[in-house]
Symmetry: C2
Subunit: 213 residues, 2 copies
DNA sequence: ATATGGATACTGACCATTCAGTCATTATGG
DNA sequence: CCATAATGACTGAATGGTCAGTATCCATAT
């Protein structure tokens, strides 16, 4: 009927089929994390990715498929790298732990860090994703910390702890929580500036002192 | 036209205006926690509370008002009781901490414990609720732990820690995380049975050993 | 006691909106 | 000029919110 009013500064339609899927996935992750899955409209995802409403459906069958793709993609690579680190490290275990925490911090502060919040919030609505996460990310993450603990204890660098498995979880929990925190309450907490340096400093201090023989 | 088919075992319409609001709020909390706010239909809340679709709107102006009411109600009382405990306690600080963790456990394992997950997930969509939570629950919760730490250090029962404020947060994080955990991933984690005794045991062991002078 | 009527707790059909998903059409590159 | 990347108006289903009507309670009168 009528020529659609052309927006002045939009570069117009461009064809970049290879870049589209990751672009859309990244935009989706951000919005899912900040607003939640159900509260995020695919139209907003499309706008954030700079494409039209229909395009995401050319790359992802449905909103739910997009969700799963986003999670799986965000989880996979960082986990592999962390495993490599622990297995190939050979120095003081204290330094290994520092290094591992550093790696986690990179992950947590990248956009990918949002998956933790996302998973925790949506596990109930996506049981299969939850199970995937548990066996592939969570379990292995715990095993990573447990491995570090065992290494430290075996080398006489850490005191023996009663329950290694559970202690590994206790090590991981503040890290995970901090990542969630940054993306939920931190922006609204006036009494506590989101000072990650301070957090990781206190964390390492507390944990390493607590583990000394 | 036609007499509505009377369900056999429903007690029929009953009038209990005083009980309604809490009943609806409790049902809402449960569903908000398990499914998320946006994914929960008010019709389901009504059904879970055993009332008709329209009734919640007689007690709460809108879905959003219901959300806020649920949060505020769930947060208020447990916090007051915890404060009383810390202020009135006079024994070994280690025992105070054990007691405090015990109190938290009660809260975390009651239906109210779900608010933590709920807040973390929805803070971005309800900034004013997030701010309320920060100043009234979170800040005071941190202060509670900080107070305990200072007490222990002053009495020579705990070693001095570098950053008391942040250490208080580190103490609280595993507790909060465990509460979230129970309501999100725990049901899907086959490798880790949700054994709260074990968790709290390891937590107290780890923390108290780590704090010894 | 029993009847009457007015107040109000409650219901569920209905309306208006929002949004996931579709598709006819248009732009682009080779 | 063909193949296909991309668009955005459209649709159908779902759901937040409304409201006219119904059931129940209770105060008062008979």
């Amino acid at each position: 009927m009528e020529a659609p009013p052309r927006p002045t500064e939009l570069p117009g339609r461009i064809r970049r089929p290879e870049d589209r899927a990751p672009e859309i996935a990244r935009a989706a992750l951000d919005l899912f994390v900040t607003k939640g899955f159900a509260a995020t409209k695919l139209e907003d995802v499309a706008r954030a990715a700079g494409v039209s409403k229909g395009l995401p459906y050319l790359y992802f069958k449905s909103k739910e498929e997009l969700f799963k793709a986003v999670i799986v993609e965000a989880i996979g690579e960082p986990l592999i790298r962390a495993n490599e680190l622990v297995d190939s490290f050979d120095g003081a275990t204290e330094d290994l732990l520092r290094e591992l925490v550093m790696k986690f911090r990179e992950f947590a502060e990248s956009p990918l860090g949002g998956v933790i919040k996302l998973i925790l919030a949506e596990a109930g609505n996506f049981p299969d994703v939850a199970r995937f996460y548990c066996s592939n990310f969570d379990r292995r993450g715990r095993d990573l910390f447990a491995k570090v603990l065992r290494r430290g204890i075996a080398r006489g660098e850490f005191r023996p702890v009663a329950d290694i498995e559970m202690s590994a979880i206790l090590l991981a929990q503040p890290l995970a929580m901090h990542s969630v925190w940054l993306r939920s309450l931190a922006p609204y907490d006036e009494s506590l500036p989101a000072d990650s340096d301070r957090f990781y400093g206190a964390y390492l201090d507390f944990v390493l002192k607590g583990l000394r023989p």
